[in-house]
Amino acid sequence: MRAFILRLPPLAAAALAFGLGLVYAVVFMEQESDVAVISLVAFAAVAAFAAGRIGLIRRASLAAGTHPGAVAAMGGCMALALIAVFAEDHFPLLMLATVMLYATAALGLNVQFGYTGVVNFAGAAFFGIGAYTSAELIGKSVLPPVLVLPLGGLIAAVIGLVLVFPVVRTRGHYAAVVTIAFSVLFKTFLEVNDTLGGPQGQSVGPVTLPGWSFADGPVVFGVETSFYLNYALAALLVLGLAFVMVRRLERSWIGLALDAVRLDETASACYGIPIRRAKILAFVAGNLIIGVAGALYGSMLGYVAPTSFTFSDSLILVAIVLLGGMGSPWGTILAAAIVVILPEKLQAIQEYRFLLFSVVVMAILLFRPEGLLPRAVRRYLPVPQNEEAA
């Protein structure tokens, strides 16, 4: 088996990995009973271990270096296939879209935390700012709803500027405390603010394009699909955009400067890197991405309330980044899928999910600090084919 894998071209190995992942995801999403879900989780753990042992994961990740575009396209196709399989079912589509939007938000957090080392424990607050922007503007203003989505990101980034000064001036624990305070204040602010709906929250209108409302499921080849299909596709588009931009950022001189700032501020300063500017850029860009994801999320749920954007939700976003691997976009998406879907499928752990996630985060930090899919060494350009074996 190992010999077969090693002879497989990396691109084929990647296709095989995505194919197996797709089949597994379809089977997993259709399970209802706790026993079946737990057995499948156990199976996944064993299968992932085996895939590591026979070299499939290594081989597939080579392809991510030599053919980054093709591998990203495969990922997109896998998501499209999943969406198509569940096109008529509300719940699986809602879950898929949620995974993709959480993954997008976690990618934003990755820019701040994974690359630049700027901690942000207020991720859910910026997600919420995006969602509340949708609530206030979609259908209630003259702005076309599609424009509200980027605006949600913009407003999150601008409000984030309030935090820039303390976050950039302080380090480590102090920056963490500042963002935790913001996270807690944000929820309290929403609860006492009647124009924003108070503790009950408010409803959010659907995204609409000319002649196309996201509130109705489109009829495709005579099949009436779920209205969540619109949101799942839009979420995939948003995730794809964020993924491409984050990758480009990482594989650029700016990405290098962000890494240098995280790893050694003194050396960075001595080599001309403007530390404050780098941190501000990362913080603002990250919040922008988180806000856009939040704006779409709010419209998809059709309802926003302060309890959806608490400090605990911020911790979930941080957990996704840590679980996937700091600075690893593929890892972030995988971790988002695990963290979002598992509690939904396993009703038994729903109550204890925060406890469970804290245990998982501690385990990761102790035993596998580089995360599930560790970040690869930066290659600015696709790796030449003849170098792949090295």
Binding site: W253, L263, C270, G272, Y380
Partner: protein, 275 residues
């Protein structure tokens, strides 16, 4: 933007912008609480010269580097560099003026590749524009290719071993290779002045001499590069330095050629203790 040079590391001979010494330090002082780490220290460095900065532990050598590069703000005195006053400038501005340094304890980004670490030192010459980096990937590609060529050639002049694995993480390399990378990082931006803080720390006698040969070779190619070197290994100082400055308890106690300062009574006392 990268300059489009033909042969990658063919260093242009620096033409003096202004006459006079490259670096002129006047009465520099720095205290930490009650400790006077630097007290009224003055010295000059001519273009193309190598100056050895020596003295016992805690005599203010590294502090003077830290003040020079803007990590510490001096309490008094002036630093004139290449005709401009850089006293109290931020580290970033000092680097842009043309001063690059290495650190006593290696400060490389261990999880980044050799190429990444060298490119950190090239910050001023790489296009940092957001639009360029994110959207103009074709032009970015060209810049990466020429930067890689240049960095590989520079690394090869120190060690073919490094040049062969530009995308290997630095953390896995032995100490001497890390030192070489640090020096490449300092040299890639073609500084006018290179500050070497104890390049021999953690290396064998042999390795140190090899490293110094490499540095001298680079200096010969890059006409006009001046160097200040902090070093405990006196053999190195004797071999490479044009002149020496000796510090003790933050004060300059001697200055001159290596032979002069080595035979100075005060210097001998500082090193051996007054008998």
């Amino acid at each position: 933007m990268m300059q489009t040079t033909d042969a990658a590391p063919a260093m242009e001979a620096a033409v003096p912008a202004t006459p006079g010494p490259l670096l002129d330090i006047e009465a520099l002082s720095k205290s930490f609480g009650g400790v006077r780490a630097l007290n009224d220290v003055s010295f000059c460095l001519g273009r193309g010269e190598i100056l050895g900065l020596i003295g016992p532990n805690g005599s203010g050598k590294t502090t003077s580097f830290n003040v020079l590069t803007g990590l510490y703000r001096p309490d008094g005195g002036k630093v004139l560099f290449d005709g401009g006053n850089i006293t109290g400038n931020a580290p970033q501005a000092v680097y842009r003026a043309g001063i690059a340094r290495t650190f006593q304890r290696s400060r490389l980004c261990l999880e980044l590749s050799i190429f990444d670490n060298i490119m950190v030192g090239n910050h001023a010459r790489l296009n940092q524009g957001l639009i360029f980096n994110l959207f103009n990937r074709k032009a970015f590609r060209l810049e990466v290719e020429s930067a890689l060529e240049e960095a590989t050639a520079l690394a090869a002049s120190f060690s073919p071993f490094l040049a062969e694995r530009m995308f290997a993480p630095v953390g896995a390399l032995p100490m001497i290779e890390r030192r070489r990378i640090e020096i490449c990082r300092a040299l890639i931006s073609r500084p006018k002045l290179l500050l070497l803080d104890e390049p021999s720390a953690g290396m064998t006698h042999e390795e140190t001499h090899q490293l110094m040969d490499d540095i001298l070779a680079v200096r010969d190619r890059q006409g006009g590069l001046s160097i200040i070197i902090i070093e405990h290994e006196m053999g190195v100082i004797e071999r490479v330095s044009d002149s020496c400055v000796v510090l003790n308890y933050g004060e300059k106690i001697a200055e001159g050629s290596y032979q002069d300062v080595a035979s100075d009574r005060q210097v001998q006392e500082a090193y051996l203790g007054s008998a």
